[in-house]
Point group: C2
Chain length 336, copies 2
């Protein structure tokens, strides 16, 4: 009924040769007679032989599995990144173990533990909102498990990372708005933990500088990313004597919440107020008043680059030191 899968031992017995010969034949080892090799491979195929991965993993001390830790899968951004990761992993005959931190630090730590225990060969991480220290990742060094951070990268030295710079396209975005005649452009920042490198704000300021438009501090507000937080931020902006006519929102969710709230306050979107956002969700095409432009961050590409970097680390002899590598992609402004 439930027949056990064939092993090299059985092949060896049927052919009256030794297991090592079978093993070598199966691996195209140079020092094997063509005849025997053919014989072995033929029989192996007939018997539907398949190497027992668990045995190999055990023997080699490797699992051919990489861990991928993400805040969540719900954000389209991360779903796309996964595809990039999977594609590269697949090419290298690796599996991907996925864990969601749900932006919870404790959960993130737990996932790291689980993955370590399961002996993943390497780790790709986009950190949670709460993650302000990375000891739980540094610890992996002791186990020789390389870590590559991507997208949401911790602000510490001596790590491998891949991320997408928002600086230039934020400049593009603000310049676009200025060119369209907007004189008071607001910016809704995210929470400090995700803003260590506040490229959005830097770009926002730089664009003003370039166009010689003074930056009005009261037009810069903050949200914790919750709907309420965003509404309060927008509230603040709309309460100003000189209301802004455009808003650069931290991300797509904030942009949508902003638009929704502005509408509730009887503002005409794209007339009284325009919105620019980050990321670039397909769903926006179904909105009556989508953001007028979005900053594309190329999640798939980031996933690919991060995974490639990880494999580079995996394929490096452990006695070599590898310089920390930090790949920075450039985002792009998409005008809708």
């Amino acid at each position: 009924m439930e027949k056990k899968p064939p092993t090299i031992k059985e092949i060896a017995k049927k052919l009256n040769i030794s297991v090592s010969t079978v093993s070598r034949a199966l691996h195209d080892h140079p020092s094997i007679g063509l005849r025997t090799k053919m014989q072995v491979q033929k029989l192996a195929a007939e018997m539907n032989y398949e190497p027992n991965q668990t045995a190999i993993q055990f023997k080699q001390g490797k699992t051919f599995t990489i861990g991928l830790i993400l805040p969540n899968l719900m954000e389209e951004y991360f779903s796309l990144a996964i595809n990039g990761v999977e594609d590269i992993a697949f090419k290298n005959n690796y599996n991907v173990l996925i864990g969601q931190s749900h932006d919870d630090l404790e959960r993130e730590k737990k996932i790291v533990e689980t993955m370590r225990k399961h002996r993943v060969d390497g780790l790709l991480v986009s950190i949670s909102k709460q993650t302000d220290a990375i000891e739980h990742f540094e610890q992996l060094d002791k186990y020789s498990i390389p870590v590559v951070f991507f997208d949401r990268v911790p602000n510490v030295p001596d790590i491998h990372s891949v991320w997408c710079s928002l600086y230039y396209s934020t400049i593009d975005a603000v310049e676009l708005l200025l060119k369209k005649g907007h004189e008071r452009i607001a910016h809704i920042c995210g929470p400090p933990s995700l803003n260590i490198k506040n490229e959005r704000l830097e770009g926002y300021i730089e664009a003003h500088k370039r166009k010689k438009v003074p930056v009005n501090e009261s037009l810069i507000v903050t949200t914790d990313l919750s709907k309420e937080g965003t509404e309060q931020a927008v509230e603040k902006l709309l309460g100003l004597k000189n209301k802004p006519t455009a808003i650069v929102a931290f991300n797509e969710t904030v942009a949508l919440d902003t638009i929704q709230y502005a509408k509730k306050k009887k503002l005409k979107i794209n007339k009284d107020i325009s919105v620019v956002s980050y990321a670039n969700w397909p769903i926006t095409s179904h909105l009556d008043y989508p953001p007028i432009a979005s900053v594309e961050q190329f999640p798939y590409e980031q996933g690919v680059r991060a995974t490639e970097l990880l494999f580079k680390l995996l394929n490096t002899k452990s006695d070599q030191t590898i310089p920390y590598e930090n790949v920075v992609l450039q985002s792009e402004l998409i005008v809708h």
Copy 2:
């Protein structure tokens, strides 16, 4: 530099006892002296001993990993289902290997192969649009890998499955529309491959029957789920002499495409035409004209139930036969 993790052997040596005693002590085996047990556990803790999973997997012939094959991660529906799966798997100290078929049959087959080779203990599957035969899954029986289908379940006997019935809530939906005074209610069906059990249509018809409203065949159209396909379907409806005043759309995407197209054709949503859809995306709250009601299918719950069923199968001795189990949840109509 890179110290190898400690093993039970080392613990044994340090304590001058045998490895089996250590093994048993670590497992709280009843026949171990309290003294030795304490000693062992203390030292193990000090040495940061951690069992080598790969060794255990090898020895036990189990990987403590289940495979989860989905059409994609982009649909919120599946992301939520994953959470249910993960939660249960986590509780059982299992890992989850995720694969996306991208609704491509060949890719689905490939994923099944990869997962089998990696010796997953069991498989959870929501089949691709293209999947019209399930030999590649039945084949797993030979390897004693149980399979539980969920949500998108193939229409064949002798499988384990968990899905959510849409029949009654479709009746609710149509009755709601009828009660609101709609006399011509259209239904946009999905492609035949996903419609083997066409519960939506059955519910649609039953509701008409109950309310003694004749079913008008020309109000029943079909889309292949592409935007174009949906537009053609809507086109057909809008070209009728007696246009419908309400549409029951196959799913959320179809609903959104329908709404978009209707707007383009200058129809006032919720006035000239109302839309009901399946699934229940959070994003709809950002739409100016969301569907007036949606059928909730409880993806998280489905994930949980499917995984629980799988563990039931995994925990059954292989010499027992288990009757095929088919869990049917009931969807619910959410009126917005």
